[in-house]
Symmetry: C2
Subunit: 223 residues, 2 copies
């Protein structure tokens, strides 16, 4: 990961989780917060946003609800921090993927899509997707989720263009390809529990073929 990537990542670093050389209490606080955020991710993944209660998160984190509310005063605070945390982790994985792609596998036109798909099979993305879906019909959640999601998308786009300048020549075509890949892969992820793992890879391969065709100009955009 180059210097610029590291700086980009640093800009997304969540607040209140960066105390490394601080006092004993500071480190304990950070540790507890991470435990809470991880429990919230598990809760979102396993029970969905609608059934993710503060009670359940505290139980899964192994602490009392009172202690949790000491670190995150309201549920909104907690969810907001969960979003920041998952965004940060996604960006970490994404930048590492980009780096690997730049180094070697760039020849293989499928590699980018497969890395995207793999990154969507993580716990963090499952939680992120639950939030994204819930935000579609929950204005209060949308208000805190959408700005952060948009910021992620913009950063992702900027980093891709920086890594693959040729895409900058055709920004509209690229945006379309990216939208298609993200949407189709999301559809695969949502339905993944009902298919065997091999089939998922095949379906992911179809997405990759479409993107490759777009890249070569073989796939014309209808009027």
């Amino acid at each position: 990961m180059d210097d610029i990537s590291l700086r980009v990542l640093a800009q997304l670093e969540p607040e209140g989780l960066d105390a490394e050389g601080q006092s004993w209490q500071q480190r304990k606080s950070v540790q507890t917060r991470i435990t809470i955020l991880e429990a919230a991710i598990d809760c979102l993944q396993q029970h969905g946003y609608g059934r993710t209660t503060t009670q359940l998160i505290a139980e899964m984190a192994g602490i009392s609800r009172g202690a949790m509310l000491h670190h995150y005063a309201t549920k909104q605070d907690l969810i907001s921090s969960v979003i920041d945390y998952t965004v940060y982790k996604r960006m970490e994985v994404f930048l590492e993927g980009i780096r690997a792609l730049k180094d070697s596998a760039r020849i293989d036109e499928m590699a980018g899509i497969e890395i995207s798909f793999q990154s969507m099979l993580t716990r963090e993305f499952a939680a992120y997707l639950e939030l994204a879906i819930a935000a579609r019909t929950d204005p209060d959640l949308a208000e805190i989720f959408l700005p952060k999601a948009r910021r992620f998308d913009q950063t992702e786009l900027a980093e891709i263009i920086r890594a693959f300048p040729e895409w900058a020549e055709n920004p509209d075509g690229y945006a379309l390809a990216m939208d298609y890949a993200n949407a189709a892969l999301e559809g695969l992820v949502i339905n993944r529990d009902i298919w065997p793992e091999r089939d998922q890879r095949v379906l992911c391969h179809f997405v990759g073929k479409t993107i490759a065709m777009l890249r070569r100009g073989d796939l014309t955009v209808p009027a």
Copy 2:
């Protein structure tokens, strides 16, 4: 729509909604139930499953909660009926689409996908999708949703094979193509509020191209 299709549709007809020549009270009851189910669909589409309360549905239907609980004793009863109702309406649209396809547009390889996509932009499908997504993380809902969803899928598959017998020669390939189309289109539908209508059509077109390639055998399945 041919006789067999009509019989298939009749098998999915929801209970308690078929009183046509009955008494005045019967017809009024059916009318009220449909009002409730339509309100529930609106509620699911606008507020999502997690925020769909009996209170809100009754308000949107314009009746008291007591009256609603007279027709649907528990929320589970109501949701179960909503599933039956949306499944029936989806099958109605699907069979009509199949019929139109058999008649004329079969030459156009895109037509099938576009009809699928159009059918996913209805209120009924929005509600169905909300239920499908919620069922992934809600065991109680999954228990009543999954059997009905599976029945719809099986019926859909049987009707397609009946209309296009050539698919029966390669059932695995067809199942894969259908899974891909459904998943990718679902991904598009979930994200549709953030794209202009034209782009949606273009992205849908990409799905159609993939299916057409599969059909021609141009798209090989990786090992």
